[in-house]
Amino acid sequence: MIRLENVTKTYKGGVDAVVDVSFEVNRGEFVFLVGPSGSGKTTLMRLLLREEVPSTGRLWVGGKDVISLSKGRVPHFRRNIGCVFQDFRLLPTKTAAENVAFALQVIGRPRHVIAEQVAQVLDLVGLQGKGNRMPTELSGGEQQRVAVARAFVNRPLLMLADEPTGNLDPETSKEIMRLFERINKSGTTVVMATHDAELVDAMRRRVIALSGGKLVRDELRGSYAEADSEPEMITKRAWLHKRGSDRRF
């Protein structure tokens, strides 16, 4: 599904956002992308979406060589990728259903198809009966569900989620994660960048860790923190506690 070979992205001004990263994601996998802020997660997402092009290296998504993709083909390429963000990115002037329908309208789907698929996908994300609400009338979790519905309505092969639970409370975050699990079970590959250690550890899925733009860890059933230091670093409190006992430095 995804294949990176020695991908490096250097922004203008010489900032290395991603450095020599290679990995492969198979169809139907669920992958967490973890790492501190500035570790290159978002840049990696942008590369997968072809909002950026690697400076060096090679990159395939969905069997397509992303780098040699012509500008005119990019929109069609993106139709196979669903995207969800921390800030939902809903259109405030449209209802939930209209927000989802918009994604189909602008790629020229006929009206009767749109009506049917929007109703279906709103059911799937658990928003039946709330299609006519405006985003401001929905809770954060519900808004994110609308965003997931919009990303998934076109049945993409790949879902990219950049901190999808970043603005949500823990309980709502779990619900959203369950939604992504269901989407993953339907055969869609999911790549999720996140800071949420608890969720990552609960899911026990593949974890790819970035640090300073470099790939530092890739575990099949991984956790948020490094496995060998897990006892000490599983929670922030434990980590701080350990720091406290190391005060002699």
């Binding site: 500008k71 005119g72 929109p75 069609h76 390429f77 405030p92 994604a103 602008v106 020229g108």
Partner: protein, 295 residues
């Protein structure tokens, strides 16, 4: 993939309405500049028609009798060829005279109806080496049999041609500046429209709307603004024409009646204006889309 027309039209109209004040400014600037362009073009057309005989530096016209024989015409021609003061000349037969007559008086059909081709004299249009010699050359030619009369390019006609050419240049110069500002205003209007819809645009890019699908409403918006301005300008030209016509009629300046371009000729100018308006709109919006849409 076909682009759904209904969607594009709705988006375009919504954009136009949302930025209506800026749209108005862009349309009015386009209208004023295009009116100036149109006015200058009509002025040139009219003056050229009125002074049709004197175009191309012609300083002297030798009119033959309408019934002059071929031999007489040939003799007059060879006299002109032999004259050292004549730089060049060309012969206008009755058929061409009639054609020019019909064109000059196209706005007065009753005049055209009363004159037939055989009533009009054939003529020689003569360009001299030195315009001051016109009386000398004319006097010599007038004696040849079959020559009806010799007319000279009066200072008045010359002055009129010169003045109108200056007026036309000034008007076109001002119009060029105004057209440029119309382009910039349209560009800015589209830029604001793009900014106003940046969320939609971001989502459209994300879900894979084609670049043309995203661009089209903005391009269409610019086109409509340019065209709206040009249609107003075309209307202004109609008013200008009838105002000049009624002024001439009121002061009974019959000589100038052929300055008023007939409706058919004015129409081609108006179409040209609409074309320029469309181009102005498209150029403005194309720049805005290229610079600010980033698709």
């Amino acid at each position: 993939m076909g682009i759904p027309l209904g969607y594009v039209v709705r988006q375009t109209l919504a954009n136009l309405w949302r930025n209506r004040l800026m749209t108005l400014a862009a349309v009015l600037t386009a209208a004023v500049s295009l009116s100036l362009v149109g006015g200058a073009l009509l002025l040139r057309q009219g003056v050229n028609r009125a002074a049709g005989v004197w175009r191309g530096g012609v300083e002297m016209v030798v009119f033959m009798q309408p019934n002059a024989t071929a031999a007489e015409i040939a003799k007059a021609g060879s006299a002109l060829s032999a004259n050292p003061n004549v730089a060049r000349y060309h012969y206008v037969n009755q058929a061409r005279s009639y054609a020019q007559f019909k064109q000059m008086f196209a706005s007065q059909p009753q005049m055209v109806a009363n004159v037939s081709q055989s009533d009009l004299p054939p003529s020689f249009r003569v360009v001299l080496h030195n315009a001051a010699q016109d009386a000398v050359v004319g006097g010599a030619v007038a004696k040849i049999s079959g020559v009806k009369k010799v007319e000279y390019n009066q200072a008045g006609v010359k002055a009129m041609l010169e003045v109108t050419s200056v007026v036309q240049k000034v008007a076109l110069g001002v119009a060029a500046v105004l057209l440029l500002s119309a382009v910039v205003l349209i560009l800015n209007t589209i830029r604001v429209a793009i900014f106003g819809r940046r969320r939609e645009v971001a989502v459209m890019k994300l879900v894979g709307a084609t670049n043309w699908f995203i661009r089209l409403p903005f391009m269409l918006e610019g086109l409509i603004e340019g065209m709206a301005g040009s249609l107003i300008a075309a209307g202004v030209l109609v008013l200008m024409r009838s105002a000049v016509g009624s002024l001439i009629a009121r002061f009974k300046v019959g000589v100038l009646s052929s300055v008023v371009v007939p409706a058919s000729e004015a129409l081609s100018t108006q179409l040209l204006i609409v074309g320029i308006g469309a181009a102005v709109g498209l150029i403005g919006s194309a720049f805005a889309v290229r610079r600010f849409l980033d698709v």
